[in-house]
């Protein structure tokens, strides 16, 4: 299969970025919007074409999906160790191409309406293109270092986009927080890469992931503190992934990242960038699975499960709809991690892996839809808070319907997309780890509950008094909603297990009816409770909130993780490390240097007294000198 044209997929957004970025003052906003959408349409078309070619035409040889690589050396370290930049085409990268293209295109179109009239319109599209370019580069990466390079680039695009309203202090601090927290996680990633480079001698995925390769077979040979170094490297790499994918305890940046414009939240913080962590684990799945019998993979599973539960609980208590969606994203990402964690490798064993990717795909569609829908609502009522909303179904029919579809999808109600992927995840968990399965089921119920809580809160409930009468959003915004709604309905019917499996051999997946029934039942149960509590304004929710007492308060304060981090950064790093160091520098290091200088001046001041300017002192010294010289000569002559 000839893949050379795929180079264009990332390069077109890059060109658009350079064009818009360098001429942001000169290009008219209307034109820049068209340029952005047009550029991305081409990329998206190429992506779809690639997917079609790969999955359906000539990706397979002997029923195994082949990996196509096209790369060139970017920087040399030694003969064997070098960083390449290139393109790697395999099932998950093609799947990611489709996800990124679809969501990004929808968001581009949506943004033309949403950002209308904003003074930084061109800049916004430039940033979006930069992000899309970086994300393409990330998913197409051929080696760990390339992934790291684009990893940083998506991080910085995220920084720029969160801080898009740069005059707003909260946006700036959210942007900083997002960047620094993920940067901290990337530190682990980088060290992991360094370890991997040293012990495995390569950054290439093909070398690393080969189940018969030396890396995996000899992975346990060198150990450090009871674990093999490769496991350590994987755990550190997972730390990077956890940072990007907002896994507990590195999740704190994600809710704040909602300060960015809503289309950005939909694109970056729901559908694409945040799944990079999941993608990374999936990318290195053979290593995670084989090295030391999947120790690292177990960690992934538990971190994922805990994050899913943790975020779902917090999501229930939030009142800012974007934050609810943010925690929901975190919870769903935990779901994907969990699925990877409970996956096997061969044949049907790999259902967890497949389910994770499936959920990634469907989640991208319906979560993007939820965000865009929320954006549409916010656009209409100019507030993020539930208390300012209610009864909007009358005014915004399209938004209402599409939001409902997305909510049903995420709640796992058949036949919407979320049902299929979530069911597969639960199947995988049930087969491998019962404990995780129970968590998964519980989270599914919570998900349905909080999602319908905000759905009822926004569109039903008591109608608030609005300053401006809310109205349906313009067509440029509703078309993407409708497209994504359609995808949320039909995406579940894609036979994912045919395409994406760990060993790249397709298998037939069957619906496990009892498990599916349980999951659906739990989901419906959650919806039912939400209906009771929030369909009409009543005091039930407050009563129950009171019943939970302090626990409710903790959850609504996000279990105080922000405060803990704030304590660490402000108190410990700023006041306990930096301030003393700065002081130490001024006082002791500089003080010593100054001290040497001052002592010299002091001594010279002392000595200066000899040169007093009093001629009588000079005379005294003169006579003394003469006498001493005379004495010396007398001594010499008389001996």
């Amino acid at each position: 299969m000839n893949i050379s044209y795929t180079v264009l997929i990332p390069l077109i957004p890059l060109a658009v970025f350079l064009l818009l970025g360098l001429n942001s003052q000169k290009i008219k906003p209307a034109i820049s919007g068209y340029i952005g959408v047009l550029g991305l349409s081409v990329s998206a078309a190429l992506s779809f074409y690639t997917a079609y070619q790969y999955f359906l035409v000539d990706g397979k040889v002997d029923d195994v999906y082949q990996t196509f690589v096209n790369k060139s050396v970017w920087m040399n370290f030694t003969e064997t160790l070098h960083i390449d930049i290139g393109i790697l085409i395999d099932p998950i990268s093609v799947m990611m191409l489709v996800v990124v293209s679809t969501v990004s295109l929808m968001v581009h179109i949506y943004s033309r309406g949403y950002m209308k009239g904003d003074e930084g319109y061109t800049r916004f599209f430039a940033y979006l293109s930069l992000f899309t370019f970086s994300m393409y580069g990330l998913v197409l990466a051929t080696n760990l270092f390339q992934i790291y390079i684009f990893w940083e680039l998506v991080g910085v695009s995220s920084f720029l986009l969160i801080g898009y309203y740069y005059t707003k202090p909260s946006a700036v601090s959210a942007a900083k927080k997002a960047f620094i927290v993920t940067r901290f996680a990337d530190l682990g990633f980088l060290i992991g890469i360094l370890i991997m480079g040293y012990y495995a001698g390569s950054y290439d995925f093909e070398t690393l992931n080969n189940p018969e390769g030396s890396v995996i077979l000899n992975g346990a040979s060198t150990s450090f503190m009871g674990l093999s170094v490769i496991t350590w490297a994987l755990l550190l790499i997972f730390m990077g992934g956890a940072g990007k994918s907002a896994m507990f305890p590195l999740h704190i940046w994600l809710p704040d990242a909602m300060e960015g414009p809503t289309p950005v939240s939909a694109l970056i913080h729901a559908a694409t960038m945040v799944v990079a962590g999941v993608f990374l684990v999936a990318r290195l799945f053979p290593m995670f699975y084989f090295v030391e019998n999947g120790f690292a993979l177990n960690i992934v599973a538990y971190v994922g499960a805990f994050s899913a539960l943790f975020a779902a609980i917090i999501a229930i208590t939030q009142t800012d709809i974007k934050r609810v969606l943010a925690f929901s994203t975190m919870s769903q990402l935990g779901y994907m991690m969990l699925a990877l964690g409970v996956s096997g490798y061969d044949g049907h064993e790999g259902v967890g892996y497949m389910a994770s990717m499936f959920h990634l795909f469907t989640h991208a569609m319906f979560k993007a839809l939820l965000f865009l829908g929320a954006g549409s609502v916010i656009h209409a009522v100019h507030s993020n808070y539930l208390k300012d909303m209610g009864g909007l179904y009358k005014y915004m029919p399209i938004t209402n319907i599409t939001f409902l579809i997305a909510a049903l999808a995420i709640a796992g109600v058949p036949p919407f997309a979320g049902f299929w992927s979530k069911d597969e995840i639960l199947v995988a968990a049930f087969e491998h780890n019962k404990f995780i399965y129970y968590i998964g089921v519980f989270v599914a119920g919570l998900t349905a509950f909080y999602m319908f809580r905000i759905y009822f809160g926004i569109f039903w409930g008591k109608e608030k008094t609005y300053e401006h009468k809310p109205h349906e959003s313009p067509l440029s915004m509703t078309i993407p909603l409708m497209v994504l709604a359609l995808l949320s309905v039909v995406a579940g019917f894609i036979p994912f297990s045919e395409f994406i499996t760990p060993d790249k051999v397709g298998f037939e997946a069957h619906l496990n009816y009892p498990l599916a029934a349980i999951a659906t039942g739990v989901g419906l149960f959650g919806i039912f409770f939400a209906w009771i509590f929030y369909k009409n304004e009543n005091s039930l929710s407050d009563t129950y909130a009171k019943a939970f007492g302090p626990f409710y308060k903790w959850a609504s304060d996000k279990f105080y993780f922000d405060e803990i981090y704030l304590f660490i950064t402000k108190k410990i790093i700023f006041n306990l490390i930096s301030a003393p160091i700065a002081k130490f520098d001024k006082k002791y290091v500089d003080g010593t240097m100054e001290g040497i200088g001052n002592k010299t001046i002091l001594i010279s001041n002392k000595i200066k007294g000899i040169q007093s300017g009093k001629f009588q002192d000079y005379a005294f010294s003169f006579v003394m000198g003469a006498v001493i010289i005379a004495l010396v000569f007398i001594y010499l002559w008389t001996n």
């Binding site: 300017g613 009588q616 006579v623």
Partner: protein, 105 residues
């Protein structure tokens, strides 16, 4: 020649005079006193010239003539010193040594 007095005794006296002059030069706090001390030192050396001429080389006159020269120079020097002192007194209304330390820096 002084009957009964050897050159040693005369030289002793002039040495004492010389060091009294030096003592004065170093300890006095007033420029005129310093000038006086200088006169003592000069006189001590003049006497030495003369005495050595007389005792060791009586046939020559170099010592005497140098004594005359020294006296002449001393006179000139004193005249100059006094004029400097007077001028200084005009400038800073003092002839104390401690007030003339501005050459220190």
């Amino acid at each position: 020649m002084i009957a009964g007095i050897s050159i040693y005794e005369i030289l002793t006296v002039t040495s004492i005079l010389f060091f009294i002059g030096i003592y004065g030069f170093i300890t006095r706090k007033n420029l005129i006193s310093v000038l006086i001390s200088i006169e003592l030192i000069l006189n001590a050396s003049v006497v030495n010239f003369v005495v050595i001429n007389k005792y060791l080389y009586p046939d020559m006159l170099q010592g005497v003539i140098f004594a005359i020269f020294i006296i002449a120079v001393a006179a000139a020097e004193t005249a100059l010193a006094v004029s400097i002192i007077i001028n200084l007194y005009r400038q800073i209304s003092s002839v104390e040594v401690k007030d003339t330390e501005i050459m220190k820096y």
